[in-house]
């Protein structure tokens, strides 16, 4: 289309009975650009911090397969994406100046021909959410690493996942994914992220604890080099180092690497090993066997088992059974349904380890309980049960 001239603009002003003296001299003649109707442009409303990230040159990524709700990820955060409709028409105009900008630049062009790049009646809205990390463990559990002697790896038909694979499959930011890999003690074997098969992991751990015992090393000062030397003939060195990193805190002393063994984590793992063999155990029998099974110098405590096992105080005798929070649903409502299906009434102390991970930024366990549960008193103790009848 032909560009409007100053004369045409002035004529329009006159027809409209607007006084040019009351207007800034510059005018924008708006027309629709060649791509405007294409629908290729869309608007994303930015949460605090994201604008600065984009201006710093960092990327945002949309993640999610066709059957998943899309999420948007910055380098370290994850957001749910929803489409918000407005009843108005939103036009996006490059090169359009505000009055401040025009006043700041008196020499600015008299006629600015601006092309509207696109328009929309809706935009994408973001809401910060928990990264969807349950799938990460699920993928890695498809093929846990059973050690170099395992026949499985050679004949395995399961997918193995590199960092890039995980980034494209998991609805979470890169930092959240890498952090979670550390939390679940995953390790990289031949470029692929692997989780250790639990039995293999316990085998590695017992090599180390037996060596600590036979060498009479203090639990707080286990030397890496000696471990690699003594155990290197039994297991790959990378695996020995990995188990020390998983169950110990690494530090340097006079240039050498040592590990302070993590009592709570070791006791917890041994409890899992014992508990996974039956549906439930007599509590006092379990506590006795458990204490005898942990390394010399370590003390077992029930609070080491939060989120791993649950004590039934109502049965006679009292019992304990395995209940791992990572096996429970990721969605809030489904998690609560599942917990209330296992036990009708929960004290806050008992349920907290099983809902702690659901808390959004700045949300408390109390707030979750208020939303998803109903409270009542039982024998003088506050308990929580489902808001709806459990079938």
């Amino acid at each position: 289309a032909a560009m409007r001239s100053r004369a045409e603009v002035d004529a329009t002003l006159q027809t409209a009975k607007l006084n040019p003296a009351e207007l800034l001299p510059a005018v924008h003649c708006l027309s629709f650009g060649p791509q405007a109707g294409g629908g290729e442009c869309c608007l994303l409303q930015l949460e605090p911090g994201l604008c600065a990230e984009l201006e710093a040159g960092r990327s945002l990524v949309i993640r999610g397969e066709k059957d998943e709700h899309a999420v948007l990820c910055s380098k370290d955060k994850t957001y749910d994406v929803k489409i918000a409709d407005t009843s108005n028409m939103l036009l996006f105009v490059p090169g359009c100046k505000t009055p401040e900008e025009l006043n700041a630049d008196p020499a600015s062009c008299n006629i600015i021909h601006s092309q509207i790049a696109g328009f929309s009646k809706n935009y994408w809205e973001l809401r910060r959410c928990r990264p969807k990390l349950k799938k990460l463990r699920k993928l890695l559990m498809e093929d846990p690493y059973e050690g170099p002697d395992s026949q499985k790896d050679q004949t395995s038909t399961f997918s193995k996942y590199t960092t890039e694979d995980l980034l494209s499959l998991i609805q979470a930011s890169e930092e959240e994914i890498l952090h979670q890999l550390q939390v679940i003690d995953a390790c990289k074997i031949e470029g692929y992220w692997r989780i250790l098969d639990f039995d293999y992991e316990m085998k590695l751990l017992s090599h180390v604890t037996q060596l600590i015992d036979s060498e009479s090393w203090p639990l707080s000062k286990v030397p890496l080099c000696a471990c690699l030397e003594e155990l290197g003939s039994l297991e790959p060195r990378e695996m020995i180092e990995h188990i020390l990193l998983s169950y110990g805190r690494k530090y340097f002393d006079a240039g050498e690497v040592f590990f302070e063994m993590l009592e709570d984590k070791i006791c917890r793992a041994i409890a899992q090993m014992l508990l996974q063999n039956a549906v439930k155990f007599n509590l006092s029998e379990f506590e006795e066997v458990w204490q005898q099974s942990v390394p010399e110098g370590m003390t077992t405590r029930l609070d080491q088992l939060q989120g791993l096992a649950l004590v039934d105080k109502s049965s006679r005798p009292e019992t304990i059974f395995l209940l791992k929070v990572e096996d429970l649903p990721e969605d809030n409502q489904e998690r609560f349904n599942s917990l209330f299906g296992i036990r009708e009434k929960w004290t806050e102390v008992d349920i907290t380890p099983y809902i702690q991970d659901l808390c959004a930024e700045k949300q408390t366990v109390g707030a979750l309980l208020t939303k998803y549960a109903r409270s009542s008193m039982l024998n003088g103790v506050k308990v929580f049960n489902s808001r709806r009848p459990i079938s």
Partner: protein, 111 residues
């Protein structure tokens, strides 16, 4: 993704209702109207036979303009899947909410 160099700053113009081309055929290339500002900084938009008065709003939550990458549009009903590039940021909008004032004309002045 962001790009090399600073991101362009665009402006959002928010209008009530629909925008329709005067002639049949699509919008591309057709004129929308003239945008003026009063000396006090009030945006005035002349669209067809209407005058719209608006205001300049600094957005609390800026927008990013995303352009879809790749050729054929994907038939994803579930929403925003695919690869996108951030083309520009929008921190300001011109909001036109008042009812358009029709321009009563007799004979348009010949130029």
């Amino acid at each position: 993704s962001g790009g090399t160099g600073a991101l362009a700053q665009w402006v959002l113009v928010e209008l009530q209702g629909e925008v329709q081309p005067r002639q049949s055929g699509d919008l591309a290339g057709s004129l929308l109207g003239d945008l003026h500002y009063t000396c006090e900084g009030i945006p005035v938009l002349i669209v067809g036979h209407h005058i719209l008065y608006g205001k300049v709003v600094q957005l609390e939550k800026p927008f990013a303009v995303l352009v879809k990458q790749g050729g054929a549009p994907q038939p994803s009903s579930a929403g925003p899947h695919g690869h996108y590039t951030v083309t520009a940021l929008i921190k300001t909008k011109l909001l036109f909410k008042t009812r358009p004032k029709p321009i009563i004309t007799h004979v348009p002045k010949k130029v």
